[in-house]
Every structure is written in C-alpha cells, then in structure tokens.
C-alpha cells in the first residue's frame, strides 16, 4: 500500500510541478516522462502493519487523576469508562504521510481551478441570484468551518479513544482547510462588491442570520463535549446535512457554470465524508454500553437544529435564488433523497430510532423554507446579501408543480407584494412591525400563510420567563437542557429590552453592522416585476 503510495506521490509531485509551471507545451511533459523515478524493490511496511500501534496510546495517569485529565464537561463520555472506548474503530483510516500527500493534491486542484477561472467572466455574467447564494454561503459557512476546527480539536484532546483523537487531528486540519479556502475565494470578490466583506465579517456581527448561525453551531459543536461533538457534529450534522449544502449546491453551481464554486465545495465534501465517520463508532460504543437513550437524544437534538439552519440557508438558495434554468432538484426532493432516503438508513443501521418528530419534520419540507424565503426577502435590508424573490410567473409554475398548493398559500402573500410593486409602491413592501423570533432557531416564527394558514407560536414558561418557539421540535430541544439556553436573548428580546438604539430600523441596522452599500435589497432590482406590470396592462 505505502510502497505504491510513494510511487504515486512521486508521480503526483511531478504532475503538480507541471501544473504549477503552467500550460507551456509538450516538451515539459516529455521531460517529466524521462524524469520518472526508477522502479526498484520497495521495502516499506504496509500501513496495516503499524496502524494499530499509532492508535495504542491510552495510558493510565498517576500524577493526575483520570477525571483531571478527562474532565466531564469537555469529555462527556456519559459514564462509559476509558477501557470500553478501546474498541472504537474508525471505518475510514488514513495516516499522516497519506494525508499530507492527498491533501496537497486536492489543494493543487482546488486552487488551480480558481486560477484558470480568475480570467473568466463567470462572476460578472452570473445571475445576481447566484451571486447572492455565494454571499450567503460564505458569510454563514466560512467562520463556522473555522469553529468546527475547535470542535475537532476538542475530540483530538478529550476523545476517550486514541483512534478518535487521531482522526480528529486530521479533522482539525480539514476544517482549517475549509475555513481558508472559503475565505480565500470570497476575498477575491471583495473589490467588486462590498457585501463579500461579510465572508469574513458576518460572524463578528449581531446581524440576525449570523446570530442564528452562531446559536446553532455553538449548540451543535462549539459548546459541546468531545463525545457530543462526535455524535452531533460528525454523525448527525456532517453525515446528514452538509451533503445538502455541499452536494446540492455543487450540482446547481455546475449547472450555473460556476465551476470554481462547484469544484471548491465538492473538494470540501470529500474531506467531510472522511471525518464525518468519526461519529459512527462513538455511537456504537455508547449504544453497546447501555447509553442508547442518551445517544438518541443527542442525535435528535442535532438533527432538529441542523434541519432549521439548512432550511433557511439551503432551502431558499435552491428553490428561489438559483436561476430556474439551473435548478437540478427542488429542495424538498433533495431532502427526500438525502435525509429521508439515506440518512434514515444510517440511523437504523446503527441501531438508533428515527427522531420522535421525524414525520413532523418531513411535513415541514412542504412549507417551512417557503416561509423563510418570504421572511428573508421581506426583511431584505437586514441581510448581507440581496435575496432573489424567485417568483416570476415561470418560477411560480415551477413552485406550483413541485409544491402543489403554493399559489394558494405563499402565492397569496406574494400577490400582495407584487401588487404593491407593480403599482409603484415599493415602500409598502418593507416591514413595519417586529417579528416574533424563535428562542431556539433565532429565526422569525413563521409557517403557511394564505388559505391554509397554520402559523402558531409554541410558548413555554420557564422559571418565570416566557419563551417562544417555531415548533414542537424547537420547544422540545429547549426542554432537554434549559440551562444551556435560558439566559440567551433573541435579537427582538434585545430590541424590546432597549439594547438597540435608536429603536427603529436604522438603529437595528446599525446594531447588525449593516451600512448602506452592505444592506440587502432585491437581487434583480425588481426587474422581474415588469412581467406582472405588462400582464396587467394587457388585461386592462
């Protein structure tokens, strides 16, 4: 294995050198062929001969106690003793020399695609809706990936199994890569558009979507123990949900001609699918030692939280911002295939049950992201990207086909917006009141409008404070560990508490760090309203 690795690596190095020299002709390639290293008898050990030794590194401490070395708040081993973790066996094995070699090649690929396309006009020519996807993606993801590096580091330090600690070391490196790639690429666009500054800036602000992202990611991994992280971040979140943002958007990006973004996020996904496998064997250890209920609860909390954040991030991207001609699948179809079809099997195979709310979540596939899309577009000045409305007559036909009844529900609300725009009253399409924000997701509470109205608050009185939730799922998550959430204030709580001054939209925008020039507006400058105006004129 390693012998051939070394040979491959030498060839790969030659290949990379060739790429880095540029595209200057066949004589170089000929020279490389002649440089091919001589074949000779290799005498290296196969990785399998030494791999187990590299993960036989647990010892019994005597100068400090086991509890000193693995405090429960950081380790979270659920009372399963150290020796029971020794059976932990990561399914995807790699080693330091293989890792640096493969990752070097991957980066050469990712960065060379970028170099080649830098000269192309894809960015300038892309539909504005597509640019909005890039902005929301980078702002919501880059520093979240960096936070995941800290979470991987927690597993590398406090994981109870040496195999887990080694794999998490590669996981740390992976997340370091993902943060760096997803900062490097949007940075290139900064001189073209101020909103790309948010690729770096978003997480440092109190912009509401950034608060929602921090709340979700802190809860899923930043403020979790090593064991919780293995289950919640790597198993539930990465196995299940990053596929959506990364594979789904990669397909749409390729369709839209943005090969830089497509190859970038596909390359990232190859790392994710490796280190996502840290969680499976950790779940097996928990279940084998009588901790199924505890493991199930972690999984259920994680899926509930991941669903919400991807529902608002990926749902509108796929069904509204991606230009109609470039859509591969609807968000609902994608969820059905990747979450229901594949992830469900992964849960059952591990001996876990489906979350108690599974059917409720699947029911939300029909409406929740449409409601979020209305909220995003309506509150567009509070975003760092320009949301596309995505409701041209053709788009509406597509939505009606994919989500029967759309025109009778969400369409009704859009009709009001469209009437105001067509009549020359854009000022009537901006919010005048505060939404009620969910104390779990940090996203305004919303559901189906129009003829099938089902918007409902799910309140909870806890220690004298009234909390509001978007669904039974959000409220249930709070109830599992109230001390984790109780002291947090939503952006609207802060507004009502007088922390945001002046207490109007301008004060809110300043609090969120949004200046004119950054603040969002309709992606297409309302040009899409023209079709409706023409229809009207024709009718009159």
């Amino acid at each position: 294995m390693l012998q051939s690795k070394i040979r491959q690596r030498r060839m790969a190095v030659a290949f990379i050198l060739l790429i880095e020299r540029g595209d200057d002709g066949s004589s170089q390639i000929g020279a490389e062929k002649n440089d091919k290293p001589e074949e000779h008898a290799m005498a290296l050990l196969d990785r399998s001969e030494w791999y187990d030794l590299a993960r036989s590194t647990n010892w019994t401490p005597t100068f400090v106690t086991d509890e000193d070395l693995f405090p429960d708040v950081m380790t979270g081993a659920q009372g399963v003793p150290a020796e029971k973790w020794e059976v932990y066996d990561e399914p995807y094995k790699t080693s330091f020399p293989e890792y640096v070699s493969i990752q070097r090649e991957k980066d050469a690929g990712a960065y060379s695609v970028k170099a080649a396309l830098q000269r192309s006009r894809i960015f300038d020519d892309a539909d504005p809706g597509w640019r909005s996807i890039l902005k929301s993606h980078y702002g919501a993801i880059a520093l979240g990936e960096y936070a995941a590096m800290s979470a991987e580091a927690r597993m590398a330090r406090f994981g109870r199994a040496p195999g887990m600690r080694n794999m998490a070391t590669f996981g740390m490196m992976d997340e370091n890569r993902h943060a760096q790639l997803q900062l490097f690429f949007p940075h290139e666009y900064c001189p073209k558009d101020r909103q790309f500054d948010w690729g770096h800036k978003a997480y440092h602000t109190n912009e509401w979507a950034a608060i929602a992202a921090r709340h979700a990611f802190d809860d899923l991994f930043m403020a979790r123990s090593a064991t919780d992280i293995a289950v919640m971040l790597t198993f539930a979140f990465e196995t299940g949900f990053t596929n959506m943002q990364f594979l789904g958007l990669a397909a749409d990006a390729a369709e839209a001609g943005d090969y830089t973004f497509s190859s970038l996020i596909s390359s990232i996904q190859t790392d994710e699918s490796r280190h996502a496998q840290i969680g499976g064997p950790a779940l097996q250890v928990l279940i084998a030692n009588g901790r199924k209920a505890e493991a199930q609860k972690l999984v259920d909390v994680a899926i509930g939280r991941a669903w919400r954040i991807f529902c608002i991030l990926t749902g509108p991207s796929m069904d509204y911002n991606t230009p109609l001609a470039h859509r591969k699948q609807s968000f609902k179809e994608f969820m059905q295939e990747w979450i229901v079809g594949q992830f469900e099997r992964a849960l059952i195979d591990l001996g876990l049950d489906l979350p108690w709310y599974w059917d409720k979540m699947i029911a939300e596939f029909d409406y929740q992201h449409h409601a979020y899309q209305m909220g995003l577009w309506f509150w567009r000045p509070t975003l760092w990207w320009n949301p596309a409305a995505g409701v041209t007559p053709d788009c509406r036909d597509w939505l009606e086909e994919k989500y029967p009844g759309w025109n009778d529900t969400f369409g009704k609300a859009w009709d009001v917006i469209i009437d105001n725009l067509a009549a020359g009253h854009p000022e009537r399409t901006f919010p005048q009141t505060l939404p009620i924000v969910c104390n779990m997701s940090q996203i305004p509470i919303c559901a189906v409008p129009g003829n099938r109205w089902n918007v409902k608050d799910y309140p909870l009185d806890y220690e004298g404070r009234l909390y509001h939730f978007n669904s039974e799922i959000d409220r249930w998550i709070f109830e599992q560990e109230p001390q984790r959430y109780r002291g947090h204030m939503t952006v609207v709580d802060r507004f009502l508490a007088g922390q945001i001054q002046p207490a109007d939209l301008s004060g809110a925008l300043a609090y969120m760090g949004l200046q004119p020039g950054e603040s969002g507006d309709d992606a297409h400058g309302y040009a899409w309203v023209e079709a409706y105006r023409n229809r009207r004129m024709a009718a009159e």
Partner: protein, 333 residues
C-alpha cells in the same frame, strides 16, 4: 441630511483595509477568525453561564496573561494549510525514502543487540509522549484567544501525530525483525505502555505531560507545554536520543530525530514570537516567570531522568537542561 455614507467595495477584508498595505494570503485566511472572543461575558451565542461558557470564561478570558490585541499575533513562518501540506509531503517523502533505503540495506540486522534492547527501553515508548504532545497542542488550538495562535497550534498538533507515526512505524518494523528473539514482555509493540507507565527513564516526562495536559488556563498550558515540556522532549529525546543513536550505529534513528527537529524549530519560532508579543504588555513578565518557576524544575528533572538512561551520552542531562534554558533565554525569559 444625515444619511450615512454608502459603503464602497474594499480591496480586502474591512478589518485589514485600514492598513493601506496589500495583505498576504496568510493574513487573508488566518486573521480574526474566532468569534467567541468578541463578547467577554458570553463566549457562545447561548446561555452566558452554563458549564462550557464558564470553561472559556475561566480558562481563556480570565487568564492572568493579558494582551490588548491577541489578534495582532503573526506566525513568523506565515504557515497556511496549503503550504503546510506541501512542506510536510516533501518531508515525508524524505523520511519514507530513508525508511525504504535503510530497510533495503538490512539496517536493523546490523544493529548491536545491546542497542536494540535500549530501543525498546528509551525509544519506542516515545509514542505515548508524542501523543501527549499532540493532545496538548489540540487543547491550545481550541483555547487560544487568536486564530493565528490556534492555527500554529493546529499544525503543531499534526506534527506531533507525525512523530507518533514515525515511532509506530519503526516499532512495527523492529517487532517484525526481532520477533521471537528474546524481547517478549518488554518487547517491541507490546511492552511500551508498561515502560511508559513504570520505567524510571520516562516517569519525569510522564509527570510533566500529565500535569501539563491537566493545566487548563490557556496561558499556563502554553508555558507548561510549549516552553517547558516541548523543549524538554526536543532536547532530551530528539537531540539526546538522536546523538546516542549516532554513537551506536543507528543512523536511521538519528536522521529521523533530526527530521522531527525541523518541525520543532518551526514551533520554536512561533512560540518565541508569541512570547515576545506577550512581553510587550508589562504585567505579563511576572506571570510568565512565575509559571516558569513552577514548571521548569519539572522539565529539568524529566530531562535528567531520561538522559541518565541514554547509553554513551555523557552529561546528556546537563546539556539538555542548558539547551532548554538557553532557548527560553533567547526568547526573552
């Protein structure tokens, strides 16, 4: 009218734009990435006081080590992920080339039996030590108050896994070569844990890393591990053992130790730069020196104990102690 000005596109991130200098790739992808340091009263966007928040408020925010702007730290090597892999892929090609070449020449068969026994005693148990360093750097990564420090710690974590990997590889190779030749019990690949846990050669180092790992204030952890434990390991194990190997015909081990010391030199460069930055703030010197007064004696004792078991290395302990002290002195301590 009091309309705020319209924000114009910038050539770089807004937090770097004020400096009127083109930022490097390193700065673009490495600086100001921790958001949990933005609000000292609430590290996470969750309850401000639940146990994980308390952990960060206590062990990071309330560290006696203070600086007005930790984000000003820069790694002198300006290492980024992309260049780390290029660098280490090259280094690993070199190391596996050595392993290949020495194996082909029948290197292990030519080793003296006495030296082979020493290897089981003073070399192969080092995988536990290197793994402890790996764990320690992973802690520093998650607790450091600036992303530029965390990144250096991440690459240091990976380097430690690299050293562990080399050691595991050689352990397996030695086990294969000397199987059934009287090394059972304390043998290659089977006896290391017992040696690490009980043999006098390792107890000082084990005490040092166990106590260092269980030290959770990020600043004291940095002092214990990067200023005391790592220099102790580098001077006593990598340099001392490497020298003993050279004196005993084990060129392969000597070259392996040298290859790892290349990583250690890089760690010392960023560690030195960080100490220099810490010393810019007046209150930090007594804090750092207080911690060193506590930790350096443990480091000295660990080097002494280990070095006493190195064959053909006169006063190795004294040399190691002097070198570790000289390193700390060279960075202003």
């Amino acid at each position: 009218m009091n309309q705020p000005a319209i924000a114009q596109p910038l050539k770089t991130w807004s937090h770097l734009a004020a400096r009127r200098r083109k930022p490097s790739e390193y700065e673009i992808v490495s600086t100001n990435l921790h958001y949990t340091t933005d609000r000292p009263d609430a590290p996470f966007e969750l309850d401000p006081d639940f146990p994980p928040a308390q952990w960060f408020k206590t062990h990071r925010n309330a560290s006696p080590l203070k600086h007005a702007d930790w984000n000003a730290f820069r790694d002198p090597d300006e290492m980024v992920y992309r260049t780390y892999n290029m660098l280490q892929d090259g280094q690993e090609n070199y190391v596996f080339g050595l392993l290949d070449q020495f194996s082909e020449r029948g290197h292990d068969a030519m080793l003296e039996r006495a030296w082979v026994r020493h290897l089981a005693h003073i070399y192969t148990p080092a995988r536990y030590l290197f793994h402890a360093l790996q764990m320690g750097s992973a802690y520093l990564c998650q607790m450091a108050p600036a992303s530029t420090i965390s990144n250096a710690a991440t690459y240091q974590t990976a380097d430690s896994l690299r050293w562990l990997t080399h050691t595991a590889y050689r352990t397996a190779e030695l086990a294969k070569r000397f199987e059934g030749q009287g090394f059972e019990g304390q043998g290659f690949g089977t006896g290391e844990r017992a040696v690490w846990e009980t043999d006098p050669a390792w107890q000082g180092l084990r005490e040092l890393v166990e106590r260092g790992l269980a030290t959770y204030d990020w600043g004291e952890h940095f002092v214990a591990m990067n200023l005391v434990a790592r220099p102790a390991v580098e001077e006593a194990v990598l340099r001392g053992l490497g020298q003993a190997a050279r004196h005993n015909g084990d060129t392969l081990l000597a070259l392996l130790c040298d290859a790892q010391l290349v990583d250690a030199d890089r760690h010392r460069r960023w560690t030195g730069a960080l100490v220099k930055m810490m010393l810019d703030s007046a209150g930090n010197r007594p804090v750092l020196e207080g911690w060193l007064a506590k930790w350096a004696p443990l480091g000295d004792a660990a080097m002494e104990a280990y070095s006493a078991h190195l064959p053909d290395a006169r006063d190795a302990g004294g040399l190691a102690r002097d070198a570790a002290g000289a390193y700390r002195q060279s960075i202003g301590l």
